[in-house]
Amino acid sequence: MTVNSLKILIGGVQLRDGVSTVADLLGKVFTRAGLFVLANERNYASTIYGAHQFDPIMVSDSPPLSHGDDRIDILLALEHDSNPDAPEQPNRDTILRHGKSLAPGGILIYDSSTGPVPESEFEAKGIRVFPLPARSVAQRELKKEVVKNTFIVGALFRLLEFDMDHRYFRILLEERFLRKSREMVDLNMEAARRGREAVEDVLAGRGWADSGHRLADVPPSEPVLFLSGTDALCLGAIQAGCRFYAGYPITPASGILEFMDRHLSKFGGRSLQGQNERESIRAALGAGMAGVRSMVGTSGPGLSLKVEEIGLSGAAEIPLVIVNAQRAGPSTGMPTKTEQGDLATTIHAGHGDFPRIVLAPSSLEESYSLIIEAFNLADKYQCPVFFLTDLTLAEVRKTIPESFFSHPVSVKIAPERAFGSNGYRRYAWTDSGISPLIVPGTPGAILKATGTEHDEDGFVTTDPPKRQAAMDKRMRKMETYLREDAREPQVVGDPTGKPVLVGWGSTGPVLLSARERLARDGTDVAVVHFTHLWPFPTQLALPVLKDAAVLIVCEQNYGGQFADILQAHCLLPTRRILKYNGRVFYVSEIVESVGWILEKGAETVRVGEMIPTPTAVHEGD
């Protein structure tokens, strides 16, 4: 019997089968029961309806380090029809795709409304199969198809011997439906009861005493929350004083726009859906110029469209925070799949040279805390500050103690209202490169800002010495940043003489898990993880990395964009573990790839499943 340690994968047809509904419901209930939920691998399609969607969820009684492997303990297959691509295997894309990931001793629950699936293959692995007629009971007996979701949840809870008195479940249903009608609550409770009954029938029929898995609640000692990475980022931005947000619908950054549209006005702010990516960033620059802490959010294609304005932010020195929630490129790429392929463009986007700062959080918690730093840096250095997340970080949902959000936040605002007797000079050539920035409307001061090369007062100039002084002044800000605000990478373990796994962004947690597993297998590695990517903090990175036996940079892109930067700045060779098939890194993949590098001398390992048989191409076909 396994207690309080599970990975459940919920799969089905997008929009139709209730994958999101069930996942959200489970996350909320388990969180309230004092368990820790981590749903880091949400996988959906770039269609509204009809494609396969799945959502693996980890549940345990201590915070999981990472999402681990693709191995699952419970598979919840919510479809009720056949996969037309595989007529010989009636029923179910989800089983076809994810059945192979089920661990021995695992559980398969599927909607058997349209008939059974072959079970022998699963039984051979010691997997217990529960065919449950969720949809037909909902449709025929309860006369409301949508309650199939609660039927399944009731069945799952029975299997896990969880919430046997339906306490958590009833409260959640009442919160959701009581305002609409008492009947909806009762109907859902009834559906859940039918689900439990159906499980009892299977258990009795097969002669099983239990399912082999159990979840026990651990009533939490403090209030806990279940929220997404996007939620955390938005909460952080609001805490940081962001009062103007502009976006344009784009996956996976649309969540920020939706959150801000709904909530920013409660804090005296405004959220604008631009008519295009450029209007968004231009309006945000206008608001930033007017003195408001301002942010835009986008993903790769949107970033490409915004590039000209990024240069304006750099040249005219307008503070702006730019969230780039990366997705798989190039071009439209895979809008709903994760990748870390925009690092190079984020660092280089824009013509000419101008200062910029690039931060990348590694977790939901850092999406909150680091975005606050992003706003402080944008105000201090008056330049574009990129916040490089990805689809994984946008979509992750996790259990977090409420107290995490009550730490005092340092919103550093340096209003520069004092100006000398010579009048205000917007672009004064200072030693730090940072010029006083006023809020326009200040009596007695005139602010002239421009993306054309300019003198200290903001007037156009092409005079060579002035041009040089202006360029030097702007770029000097990055020297000041490296001195005062750059941060060293997070180091776990002692890198001296050892192989070092190097990462940035959302891959951080999985590298830590890989380190643990490698240690168990007798390979001692350290993990060095970067959050402050640009300007690259060579003086802080080199001492950490220079004595490593071998640097293995793990990232989710084709070529190793961060590895290139690291090599160029530290003059150290790197090996690379790369993945770009749209899925997150799994721990086992890192562990196996490290083996290829350390034992077989591989330079670069590209992980992911291969297409089994190459497609033959015949000339003249």
């Binding site: 209030p223 806990v224 929350l225 279940f226 929220l227 909460l235 609001i238 805490q239 940081a240 004083g241 009062r243 103007f244 502009a246 909530h263 804090f267 005296g268 702010g269 405004r270 604008l272 008519q275 450029r278 209007e279 231009r282 309006a283 945000a284 620059l285 206008g286 608001a287 110029m289 007017a290 003195g291 408001v292 802490r293 301002s294 304006l312 005219a316 105000d379 409420e402 959000f405 009550s406 919103v411 605002i413 209003p415 920035l437 809020v439 326009p440 409307g441 200040t442 009596p443 007695g444 001061a445 005139i446 602010l447 002239k448 800002a449 421009t450 993306g451 054309t452 007037f459 156009v460």
Partner: protein, 300 residues
């Protein structure tokens, strides 16, 4: 009986005098004004100064946003705050400034290429959004700064012969504005600064997006639409015209077109009911007080 408060009148007169002086001076010395002698943009600059003087505004009150091109340089000559961004972006920056701070007088100053070619997306949607921004387009039919290429308004009043994809006929910005839902549409001519200033005053008072298509001749690269040509073709909007009526606005445009004349003055002006917003909190105000705890409850 009417009571006149003498002290207040005196104060107003004094303030008026000091403001006159403020706007009289340019932000840069005369030799740094780099427009060709006779450029229509001088007329717009003079008209704006008159309008701002009349409205009693001070340089720190105003926020002009300049486009790319000869016309955008006006931002540097006018004595006040200014932002100069990318080509075509003028109205979108102005939108952001205005949304952030409704106390600023936001003026977008751009050319016909900037507004109707590369920035037409912003023009159309600004008409819909209706922010309180005054847009003066210095329309001369050419890209002057890059030595005279055709803009979308090139060919005004000319017999263009056969059309081609490369050189299509001009389009009418006034009609585009009306179609897109603009609430203030007017036309002026740099050769008649006094009249232009009157139009600017009305535009700056308009509680929404005010679009002025100003004919501002390019003396170097447009040898057809000259001051003399415009003088022959402009005609004031008749006194009986009702600018509150959209139907009358369209009829007026059609009627003038039939006669080959360009209407000068306010063609359409009808404010939209709008929600009011306070200025957004800015840097330097206490932003530390945000209490996100109520927001967290939905995640419990």
């Amino acid at each position: 009986m009417k009571v006149i408060d003498v002290s207040q009148t005196v104060m107003q007169v004094e303030k008026q005098t000091s403001i006159d002086k403020i706007w009289e001076e340019n932000a840069v010395p005369k030799h740094r004004i780099q427009w060709c002698p006779g450029c229509g943009d001088f007329g717009v600059l003079a008209g704006l100064k008159m309008a701002l003087t009349r409205l009693g505004r001070e340089p720190h009150d105003i926020f002009p946003v300049g486009g790319i091109g000869c016309s955008g340089q006006i931002r540097n000559y006018l004595n006040g705050n200014a932002l100069h961004g990318t080509h075509g972006g003028t109205l979108a920056y102005a939108l952001g400034v205005r949304m952030a701070n409704p106390d600023l007088v936001v003026i977008a100053l751009a050319g016909d290429g900037d507004t109707f070619a590369i920035g037409v997306e912003n023009f159309v949607h600004t008409c819909r959004r209706d922010p309180q921004v005054t847009l003066v387009v210095m329309n001369n039919g050419v890209y002057g700064l890059t030595k005279g290429q055709n803009s979308p308004t090139h060919g005004l009043g000319r017999d263009l012969g056969e059309s081609s994809e490369e050189s299509p006929p001009p389009f009418d910005p006034l009609r585009l504005a009306l179609s897109a839902g603009a609430t203030f549409v007017a036309q002026s001519f740099s050769g008649d600064v006094k009249h232009a200033a009157q139009v600017y005053v009305a535009a700056l008072k308009h509680p929404g997006f005010a679009f002025i298509n100003d004919f501002s001749p390019c003396v170097t690269y447009n040898k057809f639409n000259t001051y003399d040509w415009f003088k022959e073709h402009v005609e004031h909007v008749p006194e009986g015209h009702d600018p509150m009526s959209l139907g009358s606005a369209w009829s007026l445009l059609n009627e003038f077109e039939v006669r080959g004349r360009l209407p000068m003055g306010i063609i359409y002006s009808k404010p939209r009911p709008k929600r009011r917003f306070a200025p957004l909190p800015v840097r330097g105000e206490n932003l530390n007080n945000a209490d996100i705890r109520p927001l967290l409850q939905m995640f419990r």
